[in-house]
Every structure is written in C-alpha cells, then in structure tokens.
Symmetry: C2
C-alpha cells in the first residue's frame, strides 16, 4: 500500500527531532490546511525562508491563527521575511489593532512602507504593490544595470523589466531584461529607450488593472502616483487572484447572497447565515407585495379559480427572462464590454429579445391550453379566452422581465452601487409583483362578461 | 474642444499617404473594433510587426473578417509573424477548412507545430502552449546559456526561466534567469540545479493549470508530455484570459442562458435568441407542471381562495433559497474547494441552513398574517391556522430549496455534466412544483374541518 504525504508528515512529527527537508513548502502547506493543530510546531521548526514560503500557501484562516498564537519573536522574523505583497494581503485581513501590534515587529523602513500601502483603498492597485523592483537612471550603461541586478537580484522576485527614472523619481521608461542581454554591455540605457511604457496608477481599481494586464499581455506592470513617480510594481499572479475573487463575489451576489469572505466550507455556520438571511428576508418582504397585489384580485380568483392555476407559470417566466438578461448584462459590465452610455442600445436589444422570447412562450402556453381542452373539460367553455389571456400576459411579463433585468444593473452602476446586487432573485421578485398585475389586468379586459 | 483619438485616426485616413506612427497598436485596435470597415486599409499600411500587434488586440470577429478578406500574401506575413499562442487561438476559432487553407501559408516547421497543437482537446493545456522558450543542457556554463539567450532572445517573449533537458529531451530542471545573472559566468548549470521544478502536463485541463499557477505564484510554466519530454511553455496571460472566459460561461449558465461565444453586444440577435430561448422553453415546460399540480388542488383553492394569495410568496422563497445554495456550491466547485466526496458535509450544512433560514422566513410570515388580521378581516376567522400553514410550508420549502440547490450541482458533476447547468432558474423551477405540493398537503392537514 502506498503511504500518503500526510502520513509521512505525521510520521516525521512523531520523531524526536522532526526534520521536514524531504517535503516541499507546498506539501507542508497542503498538510497544515487540513491539520492546523500542527501549524505552530512545524512553522517553528522550519528555517525562516521555508517558513515564510509555507505561510504564503496557507489558507488565510490558518495564517491568522498562526500570527495570533506564535511567539512574537518568530512572528517578527516571519513578517520581516515575507514578500511585500503577501505581507500586505495578510495584514489587511487582520483587525486594525492586530495590525498595529504587528507592524511594531517590522523594521522602521518596512513599517513606513506597509502603512503607506495600507492607506490605499482596499480595491486599489496600491494594495497589490510590491516595492521589489530595480530602478536605474538613463545615463547607466548596460553593464551598470547588470551590476545592480547582480547586487539586488537575490531579494527580488521578478526582474523581467527594469525601470528608468529621472532625477525627480518619475518613471520615464521600462526596459525588458532581454534587451539588456542582447545589446553590448557598454551601451547606454538612453540608447535603448523608446519612452513607450504602460503604467498603472496607484489609485486605479484592481478591476481596471486586470483589464490592462489582459489587454497588454504583461506579467508585471509598474505603478506610479498622480505625479508619475514610480512607487512599485504589480505582478500578474496577484491580478489572477484578485480576478478570481471578484468573479466569486459577482457569482455569489448574482445568486442572491452577500459575498462570502472565505471559502464556503471554511465559513462558520453563523457567518453563513449572516450572509444569506438578510437577502432572503429582503426578497421575502418584497415578495409579500404579491400577496397584497393578489388580495385586490381575490374576487376575480374566486369567480375564476382557473386563473390561479397559471400564476406560478406566469411569474416564473418573467423571473427567468429577467434572470437571463441581468446576468448577461452584469457580466458584460464586469468585463467592460458595456457601460451606462450603451443603455439605449441594450434596451432596444432587450425589447426585441423580450418580444421574441415572450411570443415563443406565449404560443406554447396558448397551444398547451387549447390542446388540453380538446381532451379535458378542466379549462371550461371559455378556454380560448383563457388561453389568450395567458398568452398575452406571457408576452408582457417576458418583455417586462427582460427590460428590468437589463436596465437594473445599468441603473445601479449609474448611482454608484454594485451592478451584481441586481441579482437574479432580486429581479425575479420585482417582476413577480408587476407580473401579477399584468396578468389580472389582461384577464379583466379579456374575460369580463364571460368568466369575470 | 478636444479631438478624440478616433477623430484623429479618421483624419489621417483621409490623407493621401496615411501614416499611423503617432498611434499605438492598442489605440489602432480600439479604433478598428468600432470601425471595422477600415481594418483592411489600416492593416495593409502598417509594417508587419505593428500589424501583428494590432491584430492581436482586435476582437476575434474583426480578426476573422480580416483573415478572410485580406490578400493572401499579407495574411501569410501576418500569420508567420504572430506569436504561437495567439496564432493557435485565432486558428482554433476558424472553421477547419479555413484552417487548412491558412496553414499552407506557414513555413513547414510552423505548420507541423500548429497542427500538433490543434490536435489537443480544446480545453487542454496543449492549446495554450507556446514553443518560444530556451532549452539548455546541464553541462552548459552560464556563459553558454547567456550566449544562447543573446542569439534567440530577440524572438522570445518571456525568458524569465530557461529549461534544462537531458539527452532524450526530458525536462530535468528549470533555472531562473536571475540565478544566471548572479552567479559567475563559468559556473556550470549542473551546479545551479536543484532538480525541483513544477511542470504542467499537455493533457491537463486549462482549469487545473490555472490553479497550479495561482498556487505557485508563477508567470510561466513548462509543459511536458506523459514521458516528461518538454513540449512548450504556458504563460500566465493566457491563463488569465482562460479563467475570465470560464467564469463568464459559469455566470451565464447560472443565469439560465447557454454560454455566449462572443461579447453580448457583438452577438448577433438571432444567435442571442438561440442561446436564450431553449433554456426559457425548457424551464417553461417544467413550470407547466405547476399548473398540473395546482389543478389537483382546484377544489381547495375554490373553498379557500385565501390560500392562492400566498402561492407566489411561498414558491419564490423556495426558489431564492435554492438559488443561494446552488450558486455557492457551483462556485466552490469551480474553485476546487468542494468535490463530490464532500456531499455529506455539504448536505448536513444545508439541512441546518435550510431549517434556520426557513424558520426565520416562517416566523416573519406568521407574524405578518397575525398582525394584519388584527386590523383587517381579510384572512378570515381562522387566520391563526392560515398563518400556521404558511409558516410550516415556508420551513419546508426553504429546507427543500437549500437541499436541491446544493445537491444538484454535485450530482451533475458526478454524472459528468457541467455543475453550472443547475442554474438558479432551473433549481427554482424544480422547487416551485414541489413547493406547491408541500403547501397544499400542509394546508389539507391543518385546515381540513375548518376552511377546507
């Protein structure tokens, strides 16, 4: 039988002098994410650089636990050794009190930088910045630049690009390391410069940064402030993580939940309820209006109970078409394909869509009732009128659903709210109430004198 | 008044000898995505390397149009000059007939490689591979490696890593360019080797590759076949694009639409209907069962019309809780946080969630009816029983909704289908039908002898 890595690690832990050299930091982290009771023991045994690497791969939950329970001298070493962006990610998850305590461990220089980073809004590029880049002047020769890389390279994660700054620290160009290797060593950097570069602004949103990365096929981009002064770099691995988190948030909101802060399985039960109950309650209160709306039509229902049979069919069709429209528009907005300025083009499209889709459903509904009536007396003698009422209502609610679903995300964005909050359930609730009114108004018009 | 880039480009186009040196390729591409009627003119004017860069930033729609309408000698130059992965992305979107015609333009070497790439399944790592990497032998000195980089560097996008292969072309290690720059030039690569590297398998899914990139913080990874032979590299910008596309698909499916192949605004109207109508019709046919279910309870409704008032409230609460559960589980599965093996933990969680959430909604519903009854006679003398019926039903449907919503994605995955197909509307439809049955069964039990 094969022995798993987990069993091997547990085996090592039972030895008198545990030694984890045979395991990679990823393996150790995978293990600790499942067996966090051993995290203190293992992290204390590892050499600092391996401990930091392991820490980096741990779930944030285990990271936080470690930081709170490890002896402070060890925490200090870990935090000092962490990469800048990982450190900021960890710190921004801790309460501000723990942060204050922790930054005391940092060297004065690191502390200033960390606090500066934390001053940027949570979804800004500033929070992803990493000061581990190499800056040079345009009068450097390639040899000077290579010497600087040799000197600083050990501590720097990514040296695909070096950055040229002027005397006031403004970014004036980026140079691909490849170009340095190809040209002769005595060439001055100014000869290689084309003054064309792409930079992010420190206050840009992470979402917009993600689209700059996608559009330009880059693995790392420099970050400048509003004066053009070079502050740091952002690497694409952080962007990949951010994009995945944003998409998770959007999906959860579309499903009618507040976005979870941690993975579903790691979210405490009470926390999960706190994220789900409020939206369910809001939707429930909204949906109560359906009972109110229907109470106005109680007479009609008692005269023609047949009308009640189609209520779920009608309101759900409105809800489904609304849900289609809203998710399409929310996603297109998140990808920057649609902005508020496109509202009229979207509306025109959705009016046509709603009419076509409504006509399809209306026709199926009409045929269903008419055909059924030829074999069963359930829909009474006025079945043609009932079928017509259902069909016309379906066109109306599907059109209305498509319109609401497409316009709500645009409106929310316009007033500065998150478009994803116009979730499928939210649109459905809105459409349910109005759908009922459409149904009973159409019924009154068509059936008065016969059924009503 | 400020003149926009678009106007400037249109201005240049009107000149006798248009010259686009003042515009970046991104600016030109942005322009052409909106004014594709000028794409042939502009692409023909640009020098090949700028034309390729512009082509790369164009929407696939415009790219395809260009490839079909440009003179074949220009197409040949463009395709020859494209980066391998971009070329594969473009070719895999064309019909196989156009592909065959196009690969004729490639040099024999390129052609073989392109066809080999196209042999891999559409969502495999093979489709993202890029053969532009540098491979070396372990007996090379650093100087040898640097010389090879100098020679080949010009044509290669990313040289953060070079790869060491053995005599049978098997990958045996990767070396960071940084290490080459730091050590002395006469060092042999074998001395720098630690034989630790991360590689993707060519048949891995792109989804799993994305998680390897995220986990290991890498910008580029080598790809090997099942014998360990080095075939190419995958760069993280392609992974970022793939991840964004996969998330878009999931979101669209969650909203109850087939995933669109192109951005919402670029999708032809008929195409949009083809993606939306089938699901709406399927849901509509499913929802027809509600009319059938209700026809069994027609007697109850005519005896107690009051019951009909709460139908939308009850079925939508079931649908909303199902939608919450299904989106949470679908996303957690997409991120690899939950697999089928977790079904029992998920089920236990959702049973508790359903009971708690159902009790909250049930209590609100109960209070609403009781309080309203103290000011209005609308719910009749037996309002306490009506309130109790609604409350108990709500606990039942919310529990049932949470269970269906959470178990369906797991089941779909188990049978090899896409979990995201268990969209919010799909779950809602399922829960609507059963919710009605729960409602009328509870009502028969509680109200028989009084209202019924």
């Amino acid at each position: 039988m094969e022995i798993t890595k987990e069993e091997l690690i547990l085996e090592v832990l039972r030895q008198e002098k545990p030694d984890f050299h045979d395991f990679s930091t990823t393996e150790l982290a995978d293990f600790l994410n499942d067996y966090d009771e051993y995290s203190n023991v293992i992290i204390e045994i590892l050499e600092p650089h391996r401990a930091v690497k392991t820490l980096k791969f741990l779930d944030l939950r285990v990271q936080k636990k470690l930081i709170h329970t490890l002896p402070s001298n060890i925490v200090a070493t870990l935090i000092q050794n962490m990469h800048f962006d990982d450190r900021t990610a960890l710190l921004s998850e801790l309460t501000s009190e723990s942060v204050k305590k922790l930054v005391l461990f940092l060297s004065p220089e690191d502390r200033i930088e960390t606090l500066a980073l934390l001053g940027y809004p949570e979804d800004s590029v500033g929070r992803l910045m990493n000061p581990d880049y190499i800056e040079v002047k345009d009068y450097f020769t390639i040899q000077d630049a290579l010497n600087k890389i040799r000197k600083l390279g050990r501590t720097i994660e990514n040296i695909n690009f070096i950055y040229i700054i002027d005397d006031s620290e403004r970014l004036i160009d980026d140079i691909n390391l490849k170009e340095l290797l190809i040209a002769s060593p005595e060439t001055r950097l100014s000869e290689l410069m084309d003054k064309k570069y792409i930079a992010l602004n420190v206050t840009d949103t992470q979402e917009s940064a993600s689209s700059v990365f996608r559009k330009n096929n880059r693995a790392v981009l420099p970050v400048v402030d509003h004066d053009g002064i070079l502050l740091g770099i952002v690497t694409i691995d952080d962007i990949l993580r951010v994009q995945s988190e944003e998409d998770t948030e959007d999906i959860q909101k579309i499903g009618g939940t507040e976005a979870l802060d941690e993975p579903y399985m790691n979210t405490a039960f009470f926390e999960l309820m706190k994220k789900r109950a409020p939206w369910l309650v809001i939707l429930f209160l909204g949906e109560m209006l359906t009972a109110t709306a229907m109470s106005f039509f109680q007479d009609e229902i008692s005269k023609a109970v047949i009308l009640a049979l189609f209520i779920p069919l009608i309101i759900s069709s409105g809800g489904n078409s609304g849900s289609q429209a809203s998710t399409l528009i929310i996603r297109a907005m998140a990808l920057g394909e649609i902005t508020f300025a496109d509202w009229w083009r979207v509306m025109r499209r959705e009016i046509f869509s709603g009419l076509v889709l409504g006509t399809i459903l209306g026709s199926i509904g009409f045929l269903r009732i008419v055909i059924w009536s030829s074999v069963s007396p359930i829909y009474g003698e006025h079945y043609i009128l009932v079928a017509l009422t259902v069909a016309i209502t379906l066109v109306g609610v599907v059109l209305w659903g498509s319109l609401c679903g497409s316009m709500l995300p645009l409106l929310l964005k316009r007033i500065g709210a998150d478009p994803a909050a116009s979730s499928a359930p939210f649109v459905a609730t809105l459409v349910d109430v109005t759908g009922l009114i459409i149904y009973f108004v159409v019924a009154s018009l068509l059936l008065s004198g016969t059924l009503l």
